[in-house]
Amino acid sequence: MVGEETSDEERAELRDTLGLMDPIHVQFSRFIVNASKGEFGISYQLRRPVSELIVERLPATIELVVISALIALITGTLLGVYTGINRKGFLSDFVLAISLLGVSLPTFVIGILFIYLFAVILGILPSFGRGEVVDLGFWTTGFLTVSGLKAIILPSVTLSLFQMTYIIRLVRAEMMEILQTDYIKFARARGISENSIKYKHALKNGLIPVITIAGINIGTLIAFSIITETVFQWPGMGFLFIQAVQFVDIPIMSAYLVFIAFVFVMINFIVDILYYFIDPRIRVKGDTASG
């Protein structure tokens, strides 16, 4: 915040206004009080209120995370069910082999490979940025322009790959386990059709743990988005955070971390409530095993 030219008095004055001379516990309690009001101070680097910066960058990250979560969940579940049911077969082996790549290759390598392939060689998708965005007043969205939609493809696919492979393997393991259970066998013995057994009886049960994992993973997606946003120069919060790290911009970093923690807690809270609707064993308490 200060240049070479700043005099010692001015430096001391600035320290004083920023409250850096107070003892640590005073500084910390002030931070807590302000944070609970949603005030995280002023960015050292950009000299603007942090909360304003976060709100500005939030839509980009949320759009990216939502799209990649959807890609990961939908593709992951479909492929997981397929590989769980057709355990032997070329396509299943192929999917599983590729999924190993998804787990083992770091996000930034995949991102760079994608940029090289689709942006440099084929030239069909943009290599960085969000494209044109439309400002709705409270939200800026890239979904309403062609360039915005094109721009989100590469980053969201890159970000979703890791989670997708995770979900494929989880759903596959669940499906395989559930297809062995007694109630599936009993359903077969009653002559229920194979399709109903697989997609109604087995899949519904198999999705219960997937929801838990998905909840945690959406949090992880936001955290992982730091790397993806950096690779694709995506103007989201992760990118903001990386820049903040380089400038030791502590207000931004602390605000970002508090925000991520808040998101994690909220998502898991929502997942717990979802459980109530999905799993009847949790729903009815008190009158279990009557009669």
Partner: protein, 560 residues
């Protein structure tokens, strides 16, 4: 009139190294209105035959030859055709009602789906039919319970739902695979009555697969005995049980604990080796044998244990009294039996005696010392050494990553850290021989042993600290009847030679009768009565005991 006809049915499991023949050329006929019992020990192929009838064999198994006729219908013509007979012509009931219903679909949804799969009926018709069925199998308030999920039913009610599902498309053949094994004796008799009633009313042909000779004696008209995939004997139940022709059937019948008298040892027809008995003495050299004086070794006074649902609100209305004001004594050298149905608190008492649970209130005295008041770990260790426990499930109570010798060595070195390696090894070998295992078993892992052998390892481990009190929590309920007879014989021999005191917990009344000197009957955490074994069986005083005795399946009922 023969309804089901199984001709030369064989089931093979093709493994990488060998082919396992789960059933070999089995011929069975069942008439309408008749219950055929299919009996045998685990691995005998009885369930395989049941599943093979509707071609529901898990990979890599397959029906390799034979035919199955329902009336004039060859239902095994091709593997696809059988699917349309499942549920429609043939109903199947599985063993465990806890796992055979889909947990996230309501009972009604499962019934309607099954009905609509086979019968052309509207949802409304299917619903009415389902409710009628639920009433027929004895579910009260069927209209309301129709919308309930499986977990809202108790075990017995769930099995009723399973039966209604198996019967909802009016099959003519019902295959019941161990339908009451997972249930308490009072529920068991209700379910068996229900099956008998339905057989008569609907003129069903029923195959009842079970390992329980008492159930066979009381329920079936004819019985087929199976052993390692072969049909040993088939005929009228009375003839087979009273006058078996084959050796195997004889040994099977003699291994069943009689309900009407106490015998000193079980007669084991096959592979009993008389020379082995002397081996038992080997550990005696090391054993500080306690002389039996006529005094109480264990005294339990006003024992209570409650489990709170909620951590924060103690003594709330949610708390369950698992054990409620229980007092009894066990004399030194005595076998004391605790019987009761599931949830009666018998295992909870056992766990409190071995200090795995802390009682909510009340005292446990061991050798006149109150062990519930001991605070110091080292003090408690002295008692832990003298009280050992044998658990129900021999598969999960041994650490699969340790060799047998390490499993047995652990308690020895814990209580006697200075023991030398040679001494330790010799001691382990002696212990293994006392439970009739070879020295070679010391270097093997638990998974290489059968259930009965594993339970022997558990016994050896329990004996390693030279305990005075052995707590046996359902030690044989996971085992086959012939293995059960061997283990019970072993326990009896050990007790006799080592002057052990045994607390024997079981739900199986005939077993308790053979094993125990005195018996306490538990119900819902309360002790109903304590009396000498023979008095309890001959003139029970408590209403509940009488009820239990009446409902117990008796193999002897065949003589009447």
């Amino acid at each position: 009139m023969t309804f089901l006809k199984i001709n030369n049915l064989s089931v093979d499991y093709e493994m990488r190294k060998e082919t396992v023949y789960a059933a070999k050329n089995v011929n069975i006929e069942v008439n309408k209105g008749e219950i055929l019992g299919l009996v045998g020990e685990s691995g005998s192929g009885k369930s395989t035959v049941g599943n093979a009838i509707i071609n529901l064999i898990d990979d890599p198994g397959k029906v390799s030859s034979g035919s199955v006729f329902l009336g004039d219908l060859n239902i095994h013509e091709n593997s696809e055709s059988i699917i349309k007979y499942r549920g429609n012509k043939i109903g199947l009931i599985f063993q465990d009602p806890q796992t055979s219903l889909n947990p996230i679909l309501t009972v009604g949804e499962q019934l309607i789906e099954t009905i609509q799969t086979h019968l052309k009926s509207s949802k409304e018709e299917a619903k009415n039919k389902s409710i009628k069925l639920l009433q027929e199998v004895g579910i009260k308030d069927a209209e309301k319970r129709f919308n309930n999920y499986p977990h809202q039913f108790s075990g017995g009610m769930r099995q009723r739902v399973v039966i209604s599902l198996a019967l909802c498309c009016e099959p003519e053949l019902l295959i019941a695979d161990e339908p009451t094994t997972a249930l308490d004796v009072s529920i068991q008799s209700q379910i068996l009555e229900l099956i008998k009633k339905l057989t008569k009313e609907r003129n069903l042909a029923v195959i009842l697969i079970t390992h329980d000779m008492g159930v066979i004696a009381e329920t079936t008209d004819r019985v087929a005995v199976m052993k390692s995939g072969n049909l040993v004997e088939i005929g009228e139940t009375k003839k087979i049980l009273t006058n078996p022709k084959e050796n195997y059937t004889k040994s099977l019948v003699s291994s069943v604990p009689p309900t009407n008298k106490k015998i000193s040892r079980f007669i084991i027809v096959e592979k009993e080796d008389k020379n082995k008995k002397e081996n038992n003495i080997k550990i005696l050299n090391r054993w500080e044998k306690k002389e039996i004086i006529n005094q109480d070794l264990v005294q339990i006074k006003n024992l209570n244990k409650s489990f709170d649902d909620n951590f924060f609100t103690e003594n709330s209305k949610n708390s369950v009294m698992a054990v409620n004001d229980v007092s009894f004594n066990i004399k030194e050298g005595e076998s004391f039996g605790l019987v009761g149905e599931s949830g009666s608190g018998k295992s909870t008492i056992a766990k409190m005696i071995v200090s795995l649970f802390k009682p909510t209130s009340g005292d446990i005295f061991f050798d006149k010392v109150c062990i519930t008041k001991i605070k110091q770990r080292s003090e408690l260790m002295k008692f832990r050494k003298q009280i050992q426990m044998i658990f129900q499930d021999p598969y999960s109570s041994l650490n699969g990553r340790l060799k047998v010798k390490d499993i047995i060595a652990e308690p020895i070195t814990l209580h006697n850290p200075s023991i030398t390696n040679i001494d330790l090894n010799n001691y382990i070998y002696d212990l293994l021989e006392s439970v009739e295992l070879t020295q070679k078993s010391a270097d093997r892992y638990p998974h290489e042993f059968s259930g009965g052998q594993r339970q022997r390892i558990s016994i050896a481990r329990a004996l390693a600290t030279q305990p005075r009190l052995l707590v046996c929590d359902e030690p044989t309920s996971a085992l086959d009847v012939s293995i059960q007879a061997q283990i019970l014989n072993l326990l009896k021999d050990l007790q006799e030679q080592l002057n052990l005191t045994i607390l024997f917990i079981s739900h199986d009344l005939p077993v308790v009768r053979q094993m125990c000197d005195r018996i306490g009957v538990l119900k819902d955490g309360k002790l109903c009565e304590i009396s000498e074994t023979e008095d309890l069986f001959l003139k029970p005083t408590h209403e509940y005991t009488r009820e239990l005795l009446r409902l117990m399946p008796k193999i002897e009922s065949i003589y009447n």
